[in-house]
Symmetry: C2
Subunit: 248 residues, 2 copies
């Protein structure tokens, strides 16, 4: 993992990805940390202040005009090395049931949790392919190239036994389909695609009663990513070692 981009990096799991990647050995050349409001991302800026390989950039998932300038900025910095890993982490959560959920909440869920990742991935594909080809790594894996979609156990249709979370569940099921479909389209490029559940994590989204910390969640996910190769591409993974797939 020489070059990585993480969306939604201002807090929670995204911020923790940046923190752990910044001190990872061997040291990545660049960690591009994107968020909607870099000016207000004080915790993220503090990480960038002490790690020169962390670059804070502005992406608003719902505003595609913010994508192009970041692709260009990243492209200029990485040059021929391209981008190895894209972590689509930014997301929005909804609690309402089917009888209450608003159109606005549904639109935001699909926009931010699915359409954003799909279109952002599309925008980065040329430099992701370049990253994979120039890596000199011949087999599938994060050291060659990977697109990691941060999903949720709530996206499992088969294990849904409680209903509710209208929009969130649907968007994560859709994201899982995106991971599966994209993995097929990118097999010839040997780019790994995963849907990864982070577990129930004590972030603003997960709340204070969550069963694990961002530190342990991200540490385990990074271990998982490094374990994955060709047979895992397209998989929907629990945050568990040894690897465990979730049912769609």
């Amino acid at each position: 993992m020489r070059t990585i981009l993480v969306t939604g990096a201002n807090r929670g799991i995204g911020l923790e990805f940046v923190r752990q990647l910044a001190r990872r050995k061997p040291t990545p050349a660049f960690i591009f940390a994107t968020c909607r409001s870099p000016d207000n991302a004080h915790d993220l800026r503090a990480v960038a202040d002490t790690h020169t390989n962390v670059k804070v950039l502005k992406i608003d998932m719902q505003n595609e005009s913010t994508y192009g300038p970041v692709v260009e900025a990243v492209s200029n910095m990485v040059g021929e090395n391209g981008l190895n890993v894209l972590i689509n982490n930014a997301g929005v959560y909804s609690k309402d049931g089917y009888e209450k959920v608003s159109r606005e909440m549904l639109k935001d869920s699909f926009d931010i949790n699915v359409i954003g990742p799909m279109r952002l991935t599309q925008a980065f594909l040329p430099i992701l392919k370049q990253g994979a080809r120039s890596s000199k790594v011949e087999s599938f894996g994060v050291d060659r190239g990977a697109i990691i979609n941060i999903s949720s156990g709530f996206g499992s249709i088969a294990s849904n036994d409680s209903g509710g979370n209208a929009g969130y569940r649907e968007s994560k099921a859709a994201l899982n389909m995106f991971s599966k479909g994209l993995s097929l389209d990118l097999k010839s490029e040997k780019i790994l695609v995963l849907s990864q559940c982070p577990g129930w994590v004590s972030t603003r989204m997960g709340g204070p009663h969550a069963s694990r910390t961002p530190e342990s969640s991200v540490s385990d996910m990074l271990t998982i990513f490094a374990m994955c190769s060709e047979e895992h591409t397209g998989c929907y993974l629990r945050n568990h070692i040894p690897l465990e797939v979730l049912p769609y």
Copy 2:
């Protein structure tokens, strides 16, 4: 099935549902056939001209301001009998792969294939509950109350082995989650919820090489709906007799 509403009834599978329901025995009291442009729906109007129980109404899935007047019109016609069956059939198809698909296509896919059915169902829930309660049928089934989401085999994440159809596949996976989640929320009301694949049908969407006609597809689906009860609620069904579930 005393009272049924079908969306996207101007052509294809939707129109065929209306045709077959109109001549079904015992004769339904009302078949509400909705489409975006009733004025241009000549084939549908021809059915309504010869069947007084067919009522053509305007719903544009992407324009929620068209929902309320239809709920009111339906409510006035059915009175205390409520609505028994809602068939969310209107849909849009996309062919592009992940590298090409436009934001517009993705937005339309989620808007028409998922958000529309979710919000329209929400709008009709009060009279669907009334239909179930007033039916005097005590067990799950279309004679009590049902919401049927017309899905697609393309919505199966597990069986996706070819990629492509970006947006369409994701929206149908999301729709399958909606069916599952809603089925749980409506268990106490004993309202059946299904995700039903129509098969590959020779409509404008399916094209001329499709393996079956709208007539046989709809005839089998109506047989399937009548076979379903409590154990099928939330299921994702192939268009096949005897019943066969699709993998998510």
